[in-house]
């Protein structure tokens, strides 16, 4: 058995590939559901209902999709330039920490100043924190050839330990009865709710705007062109005069900033303080989102809603029947593998001897 490169890829194959991937995912996951002893049809029905069956379900799914969208965009920008940023998780926490540092209720009042100064400052601080965190690995890659996968991945642990230190130290919330939790954000800095009595917040608008903006950047600007050229053929890009180091640096700043913003928006929109478990791996899931979206900024929106829907739906489904929520992780993982295989098969044909 071996792979042989296809001379061309037909348009139908291109469209069919993701559909087939979803179908295979469904089949494989259904087998697992059946194995768990649950009725397959009902399980899917409950999952779908829990994710998209009501306004509340939608609001929960979208709330969950917001950080995924932002970390997904972070991964998209970086991966497009072949800067493999695995550190979005750490950048998210750094952003969250920076947001609380600027906007938290330190002492009794926090920083003085009107909201229209503090809010942009808070967002900027989180973006800068995330960006700076990725700048080191990016420069080390560009200048010294240090593998950024290793550096960004390991930085995640460093950042998490630092967050832990802050939550037990300078930023500890004295009213939290000893829980490792930061002080809360000033109330005026929190994002507004989009729908009454739900958790979905205006961070969604931030995320959608950023996705659209990123799409415009990639499609219409010199920088966008440079990133795509660099990502698909670095040698040719350098030959054509693309400023390689500058572009990689900008990409790193942008990617880190997006992940940092994800942290600030989670704090300002949902949790209002930093805890060590505020992100159930959004930084890593962002990579899955980006891959599912085929590194397309608008695709990221759809992919993040899909994954958030699976996660939220599985939660609600497992409350109703005894299928563990781990099914959600399996679905996400299998769907990623299926999409990767499907994409591979649009370019290669499988040959049996």
């Amino acid at each position: 058995m071996h792979l042989e490169k296809r001379s061309s890829t037909s348009a139908t194959a291109f469209l069919l590939a993701p559909l087939l991937a979803v179908l295979v995912t469904l089949v494989i996951s259904s087998l697992l559901v059946a194995w768990a002893g649950a009725p397959v049809g009902r399980t899917w029905g409950l999952l779908l209902q829990g994710a998209f069956g009501s306004v509340f379900a939608w609001s929960e799914t979208l709330t969950r999709a917001i950080p995924l969208m932002l970390t997904g965009l972070a991964a998209t920008v970086a991966f497009k330039a072949r800067l493999f940023n695995i550190g979005a998780e750490g950048q998210l926490y750094a952003g969250a920490l920076a947001a609380v540092a600027v906007g938290g209720l330190h002492g009794t009042e926090g920083l003085p100043g009107p909201v229209w100064v503090l809010f942009p400052l808070m967002m900027l601080a989180s973006a800068v924190a995330g960006a700076l965190l990725l700048l080191g690995p990016a420069l080390m890659k560009a200048r010294l050839g240090v593998d950024e996968v290793v550096t960004t991945l390991l930085l995640n642990f460093i950042v998490l330990l630092m967050v832990s230190a802050m939550l037990d130290g300078p930023m500890k919330d004295p009213t939290a009865m000893g829980w490792p939790q930061s002080v809360a954000l000033q109330g005026e800095l929190e994002l507004t709710r989009l729908i009454e009595r739900t958790r979905v917040h205006s961070g969604l608008i931030w995320a959608l705007t950023l996705a659209l903006g990123l799409w415009l950047v990639f499609k219409y600007t010199v920088f966008g062109f440079n990133v795509q050229a660099l990502g698909s053929n670095a040698r040719a890009a350098a030959f054509a005069g693309v400023p390689v180091t500058r572009t990689v640096t900008l990409v790193a700043l942008l990617s880190g900033a997006l992940a940092g913003l994800a942290g600030a928006i989670e704090v300002a929109g949902r949790t209002s303080y930093v805890t060590l478990d505020m992100s159930p791996g959004y930084g890593y899931s962002g990579i899955v989102v980006a891959m599912l979206a085929g590194l397309h900024p608008l695709g990221v929106v759809a992919a993040s809603v899909f994954i958030a829907g699976v996660l939220v739906g599985a939660d609600s489904m497992s409350r109703a029947i005894g299928v563990p929520t781990y099914l959600a992780d399996v679905i996400v993982a299998v769907s990623l593998l299926c999409v990767l295989v499907a994409t591979l098969l649009t370019q290669y044909r499988l040959r049996w001897r």
Binding site: K5, S8, T221, F225, Q228, A229, N233, F239, A240
Partner: protein, 509 residues
């Protein structure tokens, strides 16, 4: 030749999607015969040989060695059947000795002690029989290209090859080294070996082979005894129509120096370094650099394409010190044609139009602030595509889908056709501009370079192809181990003197 053939290919067909790389090819090879497989790039020679050696599996057809069928897709079986292959790009480990390289893969994995002494004796025996002198303990890294090729051949012979396939064996050799190779091959044939010799150089084919098989677009279009044919006939078979060599057109009027390279050296580099190279490039003149590849041509091209800075020495462009920046060079009117069009010339995944403007994206013609002026860019791209007849793919298709010739036309057009409001190029740096192209595309590229010269550009042509150097160069210089000879007028060189200079001999004038 009444014996049964040692090798018989019957009805070999291989398709890649819609492309038929080999179409019902039937060939037989006799004992003690040199069969030349002639064809342009993309004619299907490499595919055929890869099938023979088990890298690909034919869709249809069978292979027989000594009247026994050869299992498909199994290189090991091909080796066992006595088929040896000498690739164009050597497959030797630089950090191992000749003996290690030859023995590699022939010893059983589970034996604790290697039978080196025995292997050594056997290797020397084989080497003597075929007149291939080698030192078994020498490191591959320290050998010349010709010597490495000898090791590759020995490797095949050591394994008992009776049928030897040589893929473009002279591409990396000096004329003198090629002669030595031809003598070795004749000796092998006398020993009863059979040889398949792949080439697109007609003179070699006529000189060496007993029989010629010509491939064109995947089909076997002609087979003949070499003695019954001639160069014009072979060329016509290969291309499909009569070809006449374009007459040499010398430079008309040579202008002032555009680019002056003064005693430039570079450091490091796997691809050769430069050692105090001096050269003046003048308007309206083509300077051609000959040399065996890997002697520093790449370093010189990198330097003049802005990809590398000189370690010492000065390069001036129109009196201004040259900067190691592609963008700066392009803005100063330097047109660059890189050696490797697939990996350096274009970004394959991006559309044709973006590749046409990629070098000048920062200029105000194609961008306003951060925004790309897409309409202007596409308009210019359309002009390039029309003027240089870039076919297949259209403006929006990925550059990857273009054939080699069309990709090269795109690169030529991008380099030579100035966007509205900008001047024609002053200096053209062309590194192997016709490498791997079919005869039609070669003629087109060469004509464009000559036309640009006649329009007043200074042209630097770096080529491994001696014929090209002789055909285009108004002045010729030869590169060897990073040193460049004086650039002398075309008339003062002969093939022999260039060959000697390529081998590093200080040439008598």
């Amino acid at each position: 030749m009444v014996d049964a053939p040692v090798l018989r290919l019957s009805g070999i067909t291989k398709r890649f999607g819609a492309l038929v790389a080999n179409d019902n090819i039937c060939l037989a090879l006799q004992r003690g015969e040199v069969l030349a497989l002639l064809g342009e790039n993309g004619a299907g020679k490499s595919t055929l040989v890869s099938i023979l050696f088990g890298h690909y599996i034919a869709d249809e057809g069978t292979i027989e060695v000594n009247a026994r069928p050869l299992p498909a897709g199994n290189p090991r079986a091909a080796l066992d059947a006595g088929i040896g292959m000498v690739h164009q790009h050597f497959t030797l480990a630089d950090n191992l000795s000749v003996l290690d390289n030859v023995v590699m893969g022939t010893e059983p994995l589970w034996r604790l002690r290697s039978q080196r002494a025995q292997a050594r004796t056997h290797l020397i025996e084989v080497a003597q029989r075929f007149g291939l002198s080698v030192q078994p303990e020498a490191l591959i890294g320290g050998l010349s290209v010709g010597e490495r090729q000898r090791v590759e051949i020995l490797k095949a012979l050591y394994r008992g090859a009776r049928i030897l396939i040589l893929d473009e064996p002279t591409a990396v050799l000096t004329p003198q080294e090629s002669e030595a190779l031809f003598r070795t091959l004749s000796q092998m044939v006398q020993e009863g070996l059979s040889i398949i010799f792949i080439s697109h150089k007609l003179t070699e084919v006529l000189r060496l082979s007993h029989r010629v098989a010509v491939l064109r677009q995947g089909k076997l279009v002609a087979q003949a005894k070499t003695a019954d044919t001639n160069q014009a006939q072979l060329a016509q078979w290969m291309v499909g129509h009569a070809v006449d060599a374009a007459p040499r057109r010398p430079a008309q009027s040579v202008g002032p120096t555009v680019c002056d390279i003064d005693s430039v050296s570079t450091t490091g580099g796997l691809r050769g370094r430069l050692n105090r190279v001096s050269l003046a490039l003048r308007a309206g003149e083509i300077v051609a650099i000959a040399g065996v590849s890997g002697n520093g041509q790449a370093a010189l091209a990198q330097l003049l394409c802005g990809m590398q800075a000189a370690a010492s020495g000065v390069i001036t462009l129109q009196g201004e010190p040259m900067r190691a920046s592609p963008a700066w060079l392009v803005s100063r009117g330097v047109a660059r044609i890189p050696e490797d069009r697939h990996t350096v010339g274009v970004v394959g995944d991006l559309p044709v139009w973006e590749n046409v403007v990629s070098e000048r994206l920062r200029s105000t013609v194609f961008s306003r602030g951060p925004w790309v002026r897409r309409a202007a860019a596409r308009q210019h791209a359309q002009r390039v595509v029309d003027t240089f007849d870039v076919r297949g793919g259209g403006l929006l298709g990925p550059a990857r889908s273009l054939s080699g010739g069309n990709m090269q036309k795109l690169i030529l057009g991008r380099a030579l056709l100035p966007p509205p409001g900008e001047a024609a190029p002053l200096l053209i740096v062309a590194h192997q501009p016709t490498w791997g192209l079919d005869i039609g595309a070669v003629a087109y590229v060469q004509a464009q370079l000559v036309a640009a010269r006649d329009a007043g550009a200074a042209v630097l042509l770096l080529s491994d192809d001696l014929d090209e150097v002789m055909a285009l160069g108004d002045r010729i210089a030869v590169m060897h181990e990073g040193r460049l000879t004086e650039a002398r007028p075309h008339g003062q060189w002969s093939r022999e003197s260039i060959g000697l200079a390529m081998a590093g001999a200080a040439h008598a004038s």
